[in-house]
Symmetry: C2
Subunit: 200 residues, 2 copies
């Protein structure tokens, strides 16, 4: 099926160009024209794959979500079987924070998408589903009677740390210290020895 | 000085138009042309007050910061003299969360500004100064040996809750429950009686 392979390759080529433009100048600067120029194809070709700006934005977020999932899965796999809940949470959250160049690029795209959907809530339906699922999963790992609120709080803290990391308010080390202090609050400081099992 | 009054009125007229466009369509959609049309003036007039997009964005954020300050000051003043630290923190944070139409409009502008500056860090210098000052202030109200990390965590949690509120992930009540659970962690649940002193 040579025709189909060609199709997928072109889509991937355009997607990569889209992500480079978004990471470099912000998702709001992403236009048909810019993406086409970056990919070295015609504007009509890009339009064949993304008919509206909403489609392009939603696709960029899907790329980021997929990369995040791959990163989290790989980081958790390195922990081996049955890691303690605190270590599992710390590892997942560290994998999602914008702490290196690749995660920063992805984080910029995700943040731009959040700003875009704050005025177009309908576009963010899939994101709200993700949040609800993630809160449920985190709640299962947390002790205490208010696990649901604590899970939502931990997720909000992660989101806020991400925003502050992207804006250069905190260094990576400061952000990890804030996360560890929160895990101390949730699990008690006696579980802190686990922190040293992970690179900062 | 009639000339100066005219000047300020025009600037205020353009600023209001800018904020309406930003709240409605996102700060990334704000252009000379749109703002001029909304204000009913010429594009040249807008350009007289804001020479670059960065200037327009920074100005929008200043408007939001000023409104936030007015809101927080008014809410804290209603608490009377020497409110307990937990109540003071809860009141300040509730006044900053996007819980009604006015704060949601301002929150959308602030979020769009954060996304804009994530790819243009130099524009956000004043914001980083705000964050550092706020963390220092909050730390002074928090108990425990890790007050600085706890303050940074509380601020990140507030920022993340704001993002999730704007995206429709949480209702206002859910967000306040998450904030209260965090204050329980920081102050101990015995201080919770104070929560009822404030409207939800």
């Amino acid at each position: 099926m040579p025709r189909k392979v060609d199709h997928q390759e072109r889509r991937s080529l355009i997607a990569d160009a889209l992500m480079r433009v978004a990471a470099d100048r912000g998702l709001e600067a992403v236009s048909l024209r810019h993406v086409a120029a970056e990919a070295g194809v015609s504007a009509g070709m890009v339009q064949h794959y993304f008919r509206t700006k909403d489609e392009m934005m939603a696709f960029a977020l899907d790329v980021v979500r997929e990369r995040n999932q791959v990163r989290v899965t790989a980081a958790v796999a390195r922990l081996g079987d049955d890691p303690p809940p605190r270590l599992l949470l710390r590892t997942m959250i560290a994998a999602l924070l914008p702490l290196d160049e690749q995660t920063r690029d992805d984080g910029r795209v995700a943040l731009a998408f959040l700003a875009y959907t704050a005025v177009r809530p309908a576009v963010a339906a899939s994101l709200r589903k993700d949040t609800a699922q993630l809160v449920g999963f985190l709640a299962g790992l947390l002790p205490g009677p208010n696990a649901a609120e604590a899970a939502a709080g931990l997720l909000a803290l992660m989101e806020g740390l991400g925003v502050y990391l992207l804006g250069g308010h905190y260094t990576g080390e400061q952000a990890m210290n804030v996360l560890d202090a929160q895990l101390d609050l949730l699990f008690g400081p006696s579980t802190r020895a686990w922190d040293d099992a992970l690179p900062r």
